[in-house]
């Protein structure tokens, strides 16, 4: 069989510069005296969709010897591609899906970063594809892989991903072209030459090193080490109480204590620890020699989040912190000495206003249609300039209401809910431990603001109504877990309704509490 062309597929997203990369490669190939062909099907994919560019290269010398031009195909063929370069990890997956990456043949060069698809982004909770599984599959399917974060590389060099991809291709050595010619092409383009060359070189080096060992594993953000000494003498007792808890839960509880302390005051942190300790005692009663503390872990986590619910005071506090200004400055890539303003978008509803008032007054407002109607006048969306004196002071003073927070309507409501929730957990734990654990996890439904928060609370109470049925089922725990997912499946709550309708109560059966499964499988 005669010489065959080199086949390269670029898997990219519309508007990501895959076309630029293809043009560069054509130019390089022609300077290297190769016959080059590229083709694509941009169409509507130019508008953020997934698209591929396909290139073939053939040595001119051989064609001239044969006295005929090679016949080059217009699309990649499964099992017949030498190299696939993907600008994003899921697109590498898509190339594999199309059969373009085969273990006997294909070098796969891919960025490890993700550009999330709309379905992943718009999920009501965690909807992103499993990068760990993707990375594993990519490795399994390709003959050779070059994996690194091209997006980060581009940004670090103030360049674009196409120059990074060019560098990666050059560094991976899949094309018989000289490095100098790659660089020449960037220079000839005349646009952002310096930064593009820097990005090219950076990517070249990364690719030369080959597989970066990327696994896509998520690592726990909890600080595992519990300090021996508290910052101040006054807080030492808190720390000592945490140290008396089982080792596995200490990191979570420490974070929870810090959170509640930051949210209110030491007394509030103590209240948090009181509640955690009573759950710890419960665990101890249930299992003499427990190796894992599923319930304690879940309660400690959920309780910390619930006790630090986002009320207007909390939001004002977070928005006015110096650390926040610094984070914003970093995020918007402002130069060190560049001036910038920040504008917040606040739209408090009557509920929020009343919630910030002393409980009695708040209830009176909400109970009186006339007052509510009048207050509605003040609920128009407001833009607050946090870096002007007026704007800052307004939020700063609001944050200052913290010391009276315990008296506000919202605090009283949330606190009651928390106590009811904890009581239910405690009662459940003895009859059906796993349901209790899932009830602790169910707190994640109650989040957000305004309508989002209302929806979450609605779903949460719907689940509470099912507890008796669930407690009576040996598989109650897994069912409740399923219901929580169902609640997060759609805004209208249709999936949840369906799942609940499907529940057919079974007569209660005496069940010894099931052995606690490892934390991982439950939380």
């Amino acid at each position: 069989m005669s010489e065959r062309p080199i086949k390269l597929t670029i898997a990219a997203l519309g508007g990501q510069g895959g076309g630029v990369l293809a043009d560069w490669l054509i130019e390089i190939a022609e300077t290297e005296d190769f016959i080059a062909q590229s083709t694509s099907v941009p169409g509507v994919a130019q508008r953020t969709g997934a698209t591929i560019y396909y290139l073939e290269f053939f040595p001119r010398a051989i064609a001239e010897k044969a006295g005929r031009a090679p016949i080059l195909a217009l699309m990649p063929v499964p099992g017949d591609v030498d190299c696939v370069i993907a600008s994003e990890l899921a697109e590498a997956g898509r190339a594999i899906q199309r059969g373009l990456v085969t273990p006997d043949r294909t070098t796969l060069i891919s960025s490890t970063h993700r550009t999330y698809a709309i379905a992943e982004k718009s999920a009501m909770g965690q909807g992103a594809a499993d990068t760990e599984a993707l990375a594993e599959l990519v490795r399994k399917q390709a003959k050779r892989v070059v994996l690194f974060d091209m997006d980060e590389t581009a940004e670090r060099n103030h360049s674009v991903i196409s120059s990074v991809m060019l560098g990666a291709l050059c560094g991976a050595g899949v094309l018989p072209f000289r490095k100098s010619n790659f660089q020449e092409t960037i220079k000839k383009s005349g646009i952002a030459v310096a930064t593009n060359l820097a990005a090219f070189e950076d990517a070249y080096q990364r690719a030369q090193r080959g597989d970066s060992g990327f696994t896509g594993k998520a690592t726990s953000k909890l600080s595992q080490d519990v300090p021996s000494q508290a910052a101040t003498e006054r807080l030492q007792p808190l720390l000592d109480r945490i140290k008396r808890l089982p080792a596995v839960v200490r990191p979570v509880v420490l974070e929870g204590a810090r959170r509640t302390l930051d949210y209110q005051d030491p007394t509030y942190a103590e209240l948090y620890l009181d509640r955690v300790e009573s759950t710890a005692a419960l665990e101890a009663r249930l299992w003499a020699d427990a190796s894992s503390y599923a319930l304690l872990e879940a309660v400690a986590r959920s309780l910390a989040l619930w006790m630090t619910f986002e009320d207007t005071i909390r939001v004002a506090d977070l928005k006015t912190r110096g650390s926040r200004f610094a984070r914003v400055k970093d995020e918007i890539k402002a130069d060190p000495d560049q001036l910038f303003g920040i504008t917040e978008f606040m739209k408090p509803r009557v509920e929020e206003i009343a919630g910030t008032m002393p409980a009695g007054m708040g209830r009176w407002i909400l109970s009186s249609p006339r007052v509510t109607a009048w207050l509605t006048k003040f609920t128009a969306g407001r833009e607050i300039k946090t870096r002007t004196l007026s704007g800052f002071l307004m939020l700063y003073l609001l944050a200052g209401l913290k010391r009276w927070r315990r008296g506000t309507l919202r605090f009283n409501q949330e606190n009651t809910h928390i106590e009811v929730w904890l009581a239910k957990i405690e009662n459940l734990a003895t009859d059906n431990y796993l349901v209790a654990v899932q009830l602790a996890n169910a707190q994640r439904l109650v989040k957000g603001y305004g309508e989002t928060h209302e929806r979450g609370w609605r779903n949460f109470t719907t689940l509470l109504a099912q507890l008796d049925v669930l407690a009576a089922r040996s598989d109650g725990g897994s069912v409740l877990a399923r219901l929580i997912d169902a609640a997060l499946a759609d805004e209208e709550g249709t999936t949840l309704k369906r799942e609940i309708a499907a529940l057919t109560p079974t007569p209660p059966q005496p069940t010894a509490p099931a052995a606690p499964a490892p934390v991982a499988s439950l939380t």
């Binding site: 069989m1 005669s2 065959r4 508007g15 062909q37 694509s40 099907v41 941009p42 169409g43 994919a45 130019q46 508008r47 016949i71 195909a73 699309m75 063929v77 099992g79 899921a90 997956g93 899906q97 059969g99 550009t115 698809a117 709309i118 982004k121 718009s122 009501m124 965690q126 599959l137 399994k140 399917q141 940004e155 726990s220 953000k221 508290a230 974070e255 929870g256 810090r258 959170r259 930051d262 986590r301 977070l318 928005k319 912190r321 110096g322 984070r327 914003v328 560049q338 920040i342 504008t343 917040e344 978008f345 833009e383 004196l389 989040k447 957000g448 603001y449 305004g450 989002t452 805004e491």
Partner: protein, 714 residues
């Protein structure tokens, strides 16, 4: 001014004999037109032929030097009607559009043109939008060629072949007094290649010559009895002339192969992929030397009976590689052979896919099946190894399906249509679902996530017309959406005028983004920019009033509150009759192209510039993503939750944000959450800026340090 500047490509149009043209297929066609002495060119943009229009639009200078008249036609019908210049005069004309949608629009003029017949060569360049990357319903242009008797060329997807066919196409058209269609598939339009250029030719005869001495022939008028004579001439004169020319000029190619009792016939456009499939099967090499005789149809209509008989005689079976359905060529060939008494078996869709694009993979499978069935001895002699099989394991495939999220097209970052459709989504939370008649354009993407609205799409500019049946019902009002492109294409009459005349009580929204944005930002009559060759700035509102609409209002899409109010009013108002809302908002792609350089220069020149962009505070975002469900902006995405206690990802605005303001509007309109912020970056601050900043920083800083001191941690 189109999305892409073709200044560089335009220069390649100046190339002459001895030069080598390097570039995209569709640009090569443009060059070939000038080499053929074309006198006038028109057309309507649409993938995959938009670049042809864009390049010509950027090349007015060269065209004027050559005396070539170019028009960005109002519609494909306009372009087709333009070809009438070739009926009475020896003027070569060419038009282009996306097929089959554009050909549908042009059919009326095309049918009449084909009946009258032409004196000057008339060439219709069609981007066959079929298969992967297509954005329209899947049909074949071939049927139009047959019904109106126009010739159809389908050249090999290589620049030398394509450009040669442009020149031959004009000759064929003149030799047979018939308009000729040249179709190019998507990949052929975008294929990069090389061909030896020739000098451009000034048209021998010009429009001015025609106007100086008009010629008239009643025989060319579409009225009886001429029409009967024209039909007779089609069959008795033009068809034979075409067959004779195609055979004599050798437009179709015969390639020998050792196997004598089988053969393969293919559409020219499928040549490269068919040969690759054969190479993979081991019955052809990289240079196209084939083990099986080939007959390549660069002209797919009309077919040349003599050539078929010659190729098929003595063969057991011949495989016809014909993409799409119905299988017109397969049917015609069977008839030709039957009538010629040739017993060769014609094989086609019994081994190849009955519908859809012919990928190399499907061709490999089909040809392999053909060989097994009709030439097993080829396998026996080992000429043909078993086809390579794709190597993704089934379980791997299953895994992937779950891992690889679908990636539908969507509105670009900062698209002005996003806030409008977000408003529509909020509106429907109040009104319940509405019947929405959608249209063609960027706004078609509103039928996809996250907006998911629009009940039907009837065609370009037909959004309002599509709501006609619900126009006067008097129940919940129907809503129609139409783009400014579709509006000028035909929507003004087919939709708005019709609604007025028939006293519709519905609501039509015209999205005015200032360009034919979906096809690459070409100018349209209402475009704001100044263009020396076009008369822009024609008001949509005036046009709407002109056809009799009494209730017409404007809104700016970025003003979501105002838009929402207007939408509510339009649906509730007691006013009976068509209601029209013109929703303003310049296409962000084009806006950025216009604004960015200006801003960069201003910053360089030391002027005070404020650049806005949005952000999300991760510590107040609770990861519900309502904002994303109402926006879907590419720059509004998610990232890992930095909070060690939370698992749900938080919303995040990446650097591509252009600060269009939608995030803030959505946060307010939907009462979402306080996590969004807008940052105003100041370049070249004034003295006052610096002074105020220092005052603010010192005071605010002091307060922040104070609360920092009081903040406790373990």
């Amino acid at each position: 001014m189109a999305e892409r500047s073709f200044a560089k490509e335009v220069e390649t149009l100046r190339l002459g004999a001895g030069d080598e043209f390097h570039g995209e297929g569709i640009l090569a066609v443009t060059k070939a037109l000038l080499q053929s002495g074309v006198a006038y060119v028109g057309g309507y943009q649409g993938a995959p032929v938009s670049h042809l229009m864009d390049v010509l639009a950027d090349a007015e200078g060269i065209l004027n030097d050559l005396g070539v008249h170019f028009e960005a036609s109002a519609s494909e019908a306009t372009a087709a009607a333009m070809l009438s210049a070739s009926i009475n005069y020896p003027l070569r004309g060419a038009v282009t559009w996306k097929s089959t949608v554009g050909t549908n629009v042009a059919s009326d003029a095309l049918a009449n043109l084909a009946s009258s017949g032409v004196m000057g060569g008339a060439l219709i360049i069609l981007g066959e939008d079929y298969g992967e990357g297509a954005s329209i319903m899947q049909e074949r242009t071939h049927a139009f060629a047959m019904k109106s008797q126009m010739w159809l060329l389908d050249p090999r997807p290589q620049l030398p072949a394509i450009t040669a066919m442009v020149e031959k196409g004009f000759e064929l058209s003149e030799a047979s007094s018939t308009p000729v269609m040249l179709m190019l598939r998507i990949r052929a339009c975008h294929v990069y290649g090389v061909f030896p250029a020739k000098d451009n030719r000034r048209p021998a005869f010009s429009a001015a010559d025609a106007l100086a001495a008009p010629s008239r022939d009643y025989g060319k008028i579409i009225l009886p009895p001429s029409t009967f004579a024209q039909e007779k001439e089609k069959v008795e004169k033009r068809l034979p002339a075409a067959v004779q020319f195609i055979a004599a000029a050798g437009l179709n190619e015969f390639i020998d192969g050792d196997a004598q009792d089988v053969g393969i016939v293919m559409q020219g456009g499928l040549y490269n992929n068919t040969l690759r499939a054969m190479e993979l099967l081991g019955c052809a090499d990289t240079f196209g030397n084939s083990g099986i005789p080939l007959y390549v149809l660069n002209a797919t209509y009309p077919l040349i009976p003599e050539e078929w008989v010659k190729f098929c005689s003595g063969k057991r079976a011949v495989l016809v590689v014909e993409e799409g359905q119905p299988e017109f060529i397969e049917q015609a060939a069977t008839q030709i052979l039957h009538q010629a008494g040739v017993s060769t078996r014609i094989v086609g869709k019994e081994v190849l896919p009955r519908f859809g694009e012919y990928t190399v993979d499907s061709l490999r499978t089909g040809i392999s099946a053909f060989i097994d069935q009709y030439a097993p001895q080829l396998r026996a002699t080992g000429t043909i190894p078993a086809a390579r099989k794709t190597q993704v394991s089934p379980e791997g495939a299953a895994k992937l399906a779950a891992l690889v999220p679908p990636r539908p097209s969507g509105l670009c970052t900062g698209c002005p249509e996003r806030p409008f459709f977000a408003a529509m989504k909020i509106l429907q939370k109040e009104t319940g679902p509405l019947h929405i008649s959608a249209d063609i354009g960027c706004h078609s993407f509103a039928t996809l996530p996250p907006f998911n609205m629009g009940n039907s799409i009837m065609g370009y500019g037909l959004g309002a017309a599509g709501a006609s049946a619900f126009g006067t019902d008097g129940g919940k009002r129907a809503v129609a959406v139409m783009g400014d492109g579709g509006f000028w294409h035909n929507g003004l009459t087919s939709g708005i005028g019709n609604a007025v005349f028939n006293k519709h009580d519905d609501l039509t929204i015209i999205i005015d983004n200032g360009y034919a944005a979906a096809t690459g930002g070409q100018d349209i009559p209402s475009s704001r920019g100044t263009n020396e060759h076009r008369q822009g700035n024609n008001s949509i509102v005036d046009a709407v009033k002109g056809v009799g609409v009494k209730w017409v209002k404007r809104t700016h899409t970025y003003d979501m509150q105002g838009t929402l109010k207007l939408l509510r009013e339009a649906l509730k108002t007691p006013f009976r009759g068509p209601k029209v809302i013109v929703a303003d908002g310049e296409c962000q792609l084009n806006r950025q192209r216009r604004v960015k350089p200006i801003m960069r220069k201003a910053i360089k020149d030391g002027q005070r510039v404020v650049r806005e962009r949005f952000g999300v505070d991760p510590d107040t975002c609770t990861g519900d993503h309502s904002c994303i469900r109402l926006s879907g902006c590419p720059s509004l995405t998610v990232k890992d939750n930095p909070d060690p206690l939370r698992t749900d990802p938080v919303a995040h605005v990446d650097n591509s944000c252009v600060g269009c303001g939608v995030c803030g509007e959505v946060a307010h309109a939907a009462v979402l959450c306080p996590s969004f912020y807008r940052a105003e970056l100041i370049y070249n601050p004034s003295r006052w800026d610096r002074f105020m900043n220092s005052v603010r920083c010192s005071l605010i800083g002091a307060l922040q340090r104070r609360s920092e001191r009081n903040r406790l941690t373990i």
